[in-house]
């Protein structure tokens, strides 16, 4: 079968790899019909996530048709078209019982801090991902969810990560009616966080980024205010001025380790890896939020250390909330938002690319060429 093959920082290609095997009674094999490149895949692509092994296949956002099931699989059957949450979650451990499906304790041998994630390095469990024709899906009784018959697969694939992550970012903000929410990052997750903030009753939604075409998109898509941080002296002072000099009620970090905007953070976090990615956005968020406010972090950082103003978290009484998204928990509500027409995730898809052209697709997405916002990869065997 064809699958993406990581060869080293910023080098990927498509190769023939063996068809995946059932390794556990609750496994399923899924024929991928759509997969996406996620902003967090860029951390892997750039070689910033420790234990990313050459030969790995990335891809944690995918939907597909069940081709084969293990003897203990009862909840899905061959032929079902399913969306697969990016979390590999057992549904039985204490963390899954508590709804923390991004923190499953039965899916990652290599690290305890994070649960298993498809195609996201051995630090996240060593699973091959969905940027392939076929993929092994563990815990098929729990994770895969049958796509409603009236739902477009392009909407469904964005329910595997992007929409739930943007939604959970807003949820973790604890947004109260009338709150001012500032979202750093106009990438796919930031766009969905902006859209979701209104669902929680925000009074004002502001998005900050440096890429004008993305700002224009989110302004129209999520009816929010947008500002380019390259056009301001100091984003923190700018936000203070915008918010009557008090700061935003909620700040959301929808960027993570690849942030630009501060030379010291860029050099130490992205170029030399002296810290676990550039913490520019987290720094801005902590300093821009009002006293007693909430900073919600869904941007991904590496597992070591980052330079953040933790003293100001204490001094301002900030609540800092973060997690890998528990996709499964959000699905009933988000499926309803799509079916009722309140949110159309597929509107953020700008590029549909054959899986065979994955190297170009990664480069376009990474370098923000051709006004790219979200890329969907279509394997030759997708059949749709």
């Amino acid at each position: 079968m064809l699958a993406m093959n990581y060869r080293g920082p910023r080098r990927v290609r498509v190769d023939q790899k063996p068809y995946p095997e059932i390794k556990h009674p609750e496994d399923a094999i899924v024929r991928v019909t759509r997969s996406c490149i996620c902003g967090s895949d860029l951390h892997l692509y750039n070689g910033n996530v420790p234990d990313t092994r050459v030969g790995s296949t990335f891809g944690h956002e995918f939907v597909g048709i069940i081709e084969e099931v293990g003897p203990a699989v009862e909840k899905v059957k061959v032929g079902d078209h399913v969306l697969v949450p990016f979390n590999v979650a057992c549904g039985k451990c204490i963390f899954c019982q508590q709804g923390l499906f991004g923190n499953c304790h039965e899916s990652n041998a290599q690290a305890t801090a994070v649960g298993g994630i498809f195609g996201y390095s051995h630090t996240a469990g060593g699973y091959d991902g969905g940027q392939a024709e076929y993929v092994r899906v563990p815990y098929a009784n729990f994770g895969p969810t049958i796509i409603p018959p009236d739902m477009d697969p392009d909407d469904a694939v964005l329910l595997t990560d992007v929409f739930p992550t943007g939604y959970q970012a807003a949820e973790m903000g604890g947004i109260q009616p009338g709150d001012t929410v500032v979202i750093f990052g106009a990438g796919p997750v930031g766009i969905m966080a902006a859209k979701s903030s209104w669902l929680f009753g925000a009074g004002r939604v502001i998005v900050i980024d440096e890429v004008n075409y993305r700002l224009e998109f989110v302004r129209d898509y999520a009816q929010c205010e947008v500002y380019n941080f390259r056009e301001m002296d100091d984003p923190v002072v700018f936000i203070k001025k915008l918010t009557d000099w008090l700061g935003a009620d909620v700040c959301i970090d929808a960027v993570g380790a690849e942030a630009t905007g501060n030379a010291l953070q860029t050099i130490t976090g992205r170029k030399t890896l002296l810290q676990a990615g550039s913490a520019t956005v987290l720094h801005w968020a902590i300093n821009s939020v009002r006293k007693g406010g909430t900073v919600s972090v869904v941007g991904v950082y590496g597992p070591t250390d980052n330079l953040v103003p933790i003293g100001n978290v204490v001094n301002k009484g900030i609540t800092l909330r973060a997690n890998q998204t528990a996709v499964k928990r959000h699905l009933p509500k988000l499926i309803d938002h799509i079916q009722s027409g309140r949110v159309s995730p597929k509107a953020i898809i700008t590029h549909r690319v054959p899986l065979e052209e994955i190297a170009d697709a990664y480069h376009i997405f990474s370098e923000k060429l051709d006004n790219c916002i979200k890329t969907v990869l279509i394997p030759p065997s997708a059949g749709m």
Binding site: R7, G8, R10, R11, R13, K23, H24, E26, G47, P50, D51, T52, R53, V54, G55, S56, T57, A72, V88, C90, K92, C93, I94, Q97, Q98, G99, L100, H105, E106, S107, N108, A109, Q110, A111, T112, A113, G116, H122, T123, G125, G126, Y127, D128, P138, Y139, E171, M172, L273, P303, T304, R321, N323, A359, D360, A361, H363, I364, S366, E367, L369
Partner: protein
């Protein structure tokens, strides 16, 4: 709560200010009666291990299910095995893993050549797309690289001439 209170009668004032609504994890986390029972849930069936899987020393055993995408091998594998002697809280864990990733990149090139495959690094880096959507940027990048390489070469050569 009442059951617990009976257990802590020897501590004066135990739980007197407890407020279940003071929960900063809401709505992420449900509270379960079993959450303080430790490593004691009904575990899924254990996946059998047919490849080497490195295991964090912060857990007592393998999880029920694990990934098997690329087993540790070669020099990078040796470095990774060393890294897993340390906890996730230790630089001795993460820095060797980053080193192993870079070594692994070279091993990948050697493996390609051994199999008679000369990797098309320009294609793997997506330069076709760069040429299509950002030709000026690509030309600038190539010209800068050539200039810097030439300058370094000229500098090194000049030093050698002086000797």
């Amino acid at each position: 709560m009442e059951n617990l209170a009976a257990k802590y009668t020897h501590i004066k004032g135990w739980g007197i200010d407890a407020d279940p609504s003071n929960d900063p994890t809401y709505p992420l986390k449900y509270h379960m009666p079993t959450e303080h029972d430790g490593y004691n849930w009904e575990r899924p069936v254990q996946q059998s291990q047919d490849v080497e899987v490195l295991q964090s020393i912060e857990r007592p055993s393998l999880p029920a299910v694990f990934g098997t995408s690329v087993a540790p091998q070669g020099l990078s594998g040796q470095i990774r095995r060393y890294a897993f002697k340390y906890s996730e809280s230790h630089y001795g864990h993460w820095l060797p893993l980053l080193l192993a990733d870079r070594v692994n990149m070279v091993e990948g090139l050697v493996d390609d050549l051994k199999q008679g495959h000369i990797p098309n690094i320009f294609a793997e880096k997506g330069w076709k797309a760069e040429w299509k959507y950002n030709p000026v940027g690509l030309v600038t990048k190539v010209a800068t690289t050539v200039l810097i390489t030439t300058a370094i070469f000229a500098f090194v050569t000049r030093k050698k001439d002086k000797r």
